[in-house]
Symmetry: C2
Amino acid sequence: MAQKPVIPKGTRDFNPTEVAKRHYITDVIKQQFKQFGFQPIETPSFENSDTLMGKYGEEGDRLIFKILNSGDYLSKSNKEALKNEDSNLLTSSISEKALRYDLTVPFARYVVQHQNDIDFPFKRYQIQPVWRADRPQKGRFREFYQCDADVVGSNSLWQEVEFIQLYDNVFSALKLEGVTIKINNRKILSGIAEVIGASDKLIDFTVALDKLDKIGEAKVKEEMLSKGISEEGISKLQPLFTLAGDFGAQIESLKSILSTSEEGLKGIEELEFVNNAILELGLKTANLQLDVTLARGLNYYTGAIFEVSAPKGVSMGSIGGGGRYDDLTGIFGLNNVSGIGISFGLDRIYLVLEELNLFPETVLDTTKVLFINFGDSEALYAMKAIKRLRSKHINAELYPDNAKMKKQMNYANKRNLPFVVLVGEEEMKASTYTLKNMIEGSQESLNLEQLVDALK
Amino acid sequence: MAQKPVIPKGTRDFNPTEVAKRHYITDVIKQQFKQFGFQPIETPSFENSDTLMGKYGEEGDRLIFKILNSGDYLSKSNKEALKNEDSNLLTSSISEKALRYDLTVPFARYVVQHQNDIDFPFKRYQIQPVWRADRPQKGRFREFYQCDADVVGSNSLWQEVEFIQLYDNVFSALKLEGVTIKINNRKILSGIAEVIGASDKLIDFTVALDKLDKIGEAKVKEEMLSKGISEEGISKLQPLFTLAGDFGAQIESLKSILSTSEEGLKGIEELEFVNNAILELGLKTANLQLDVTLARGLNYYTGAIFEVSAPKGVSMGSIGGGGRYDDLTGIFGLNNVSGIGISFGLDRIYLVLEELNLFPETVLDTTKVLFINFGDSEALYAMKAIKRLRSKHINAELYPDNAKMKKQMNYANKRNLPFVVLVGEEEMKASTYTLKNMIEGSQESLNLEQLVDALK
């Protein structure tokens, strides 16, 4: 009885068209990464569990895929846990390795492990899959690629300027014009929390503020109130809800709100530096926007926070994000190394390019010409021409079997091949090739050099 | 207390140089795959366990990495196994998924699952990592990449001819000249076993014969004898041990040995077809050699068997291999689909190219020019030039911090960057850039367009 061929839920097969389109996106990203001086690294798919566990919070720990130890793993297991059937307690005694959950923690581990071989500031990019035992749903997978670029070892604000230009360059190169790069700064959020007397409730405050777009002003205030932020504090926030104008005008409003917070003013200074540089340098097709409600993984970020949204009219969450973090490598014993990084959301970018029909037609790069097979001597004659075409970098193949002509032509049609070549006895005698254009239906008789020229 | 940053044994980090070199190899392979009409697919890193288990023999099952179920996995576990601490029995009740062990079984699963969307013959390539819980040792890893190309849905011998040409093209493009492509055919091995009355001992017979190179004629005979092959049978093998001459001469000797075996003669016919076609078409830099001792994973192969060895003088095992298999997809319910495929040994090819110094110098593709940072206004001036250079596809970057000149120059030196640009007040006033050639030590003053031209 044959097995039914299925794949685990939350995972995907990619067919040739999908692979080609995904590689088109990552190739563009890679090219830009290199242009900005980033270098590629790759880390193992699984890490020792203690490298990953405890780095993503309790929920994260739960979502990490653990690998069962090999051999008689129960012999060294926690007997107490075994007896009590305590899965949680048993795990660490029967599983030493786990699949990578993101690229950031492995990167931090890499930097510390190889610190003596690295020239800082170290600009690295990494494009590899990660795994999460999340409940699969539309657009959320258990295996997906992350595309990250980070710099560690410099706290220069020029990095923030570089990453904004990098986003602009990548999306412009993908012809995805008009994306919005939103920027905020954790110091602004801390400053506001300080001003409204809610420094101890920074997370609650930012989580609520982050929802402004979705639930509106009234509900945000309600949530803040329910979290114990005072009415008086919330009233001081009023200017935030009505921040208007361009980047510069918003900065001015923030300055008045934050006039008493040293940290807040530092955040403003940083944002101004970045904005001024971008105004001087200009962006190709993206827009830079200040968004004081932007928080993302706040625990993580210490300075700039980025998020990129698709052009107006495309309903899609963020297609990229990132920010500055200090001391990421501290968990592995290397302190005082400031870092900043951004990420590209490959799956979502794919969906946006598909929706807007932005994949180039040439993306598939498939076979250009199929030689019809009329038997072994004709096939050998064909193979000689195929060899010549390939030496000229033309993708060419022979239909492997001497099947019915109709079957072979159907195959060429289904695969959307632009040309076929027919060679029978007559062509062999005359040393010619009959080239058929599958789109126009026309055909012509050519010698080998003419054939090469026609297909180049 | 900080954790010590280490990776699991048998896994590897790849630094920028290693990634660049690995991608150089896979890019060459991919380009040739495409030229021959192969299309890429990708499958998930983990499959349902029952897709993989039982496909690689008992040893294979043991070496498959299993993924622990999420949540309270013990609640649905086999209580009997739990009580008896029977690891073997417990596994399938606490682990439903497993990491891919090779690319062939997932490919078979893919073909059957998507058979209605595939146009046969289906030529696919796949370059992805696989995982094996093998004991790590020099050159053997627990995570490594496989690079496979297969065709399913045709039993034409032109495929064998194509794969030999593909090997020749890839290794020629890598400048690895003089590899030997060894070919055999399972039907020859079956035929010989039949002739010597050892058809029921085919595996024992081929395992022993496969060792001829390593242990010599006498020990091979000894082993065959110990496996129950008769003295009389072994004596009939004598011509095998002294097969001499070119492909054609060896074929003639085999014909006399195999004259009474229909299957053996069929194998000879197939080999002759392939050899004649290759003689007509010619190879660029590889040699095709008949090797009747070649067996590889014999259970698997039904026709041609391939193995590629590095050029003479390089001590390295096989750097590629493959063969024809019938009915691979039968395990998933799709019968009578003949297939043939080959594989490239990425890690070994890497070592050979390294040993022979065959990686091109341009492989690194790093930053071409670093702008020294003398402060924010100079940096802004520099960034404008950098932006222009990048628009001309020149990899350029700014040293992010206004650090001491010596530190910045050291950084450029350590990273082997070929050029730096110095811009101070003077240059800004004159709208020039001082370009320093880090190899020759020379420097010159240029305007922006001259700078672009000099770095192109």
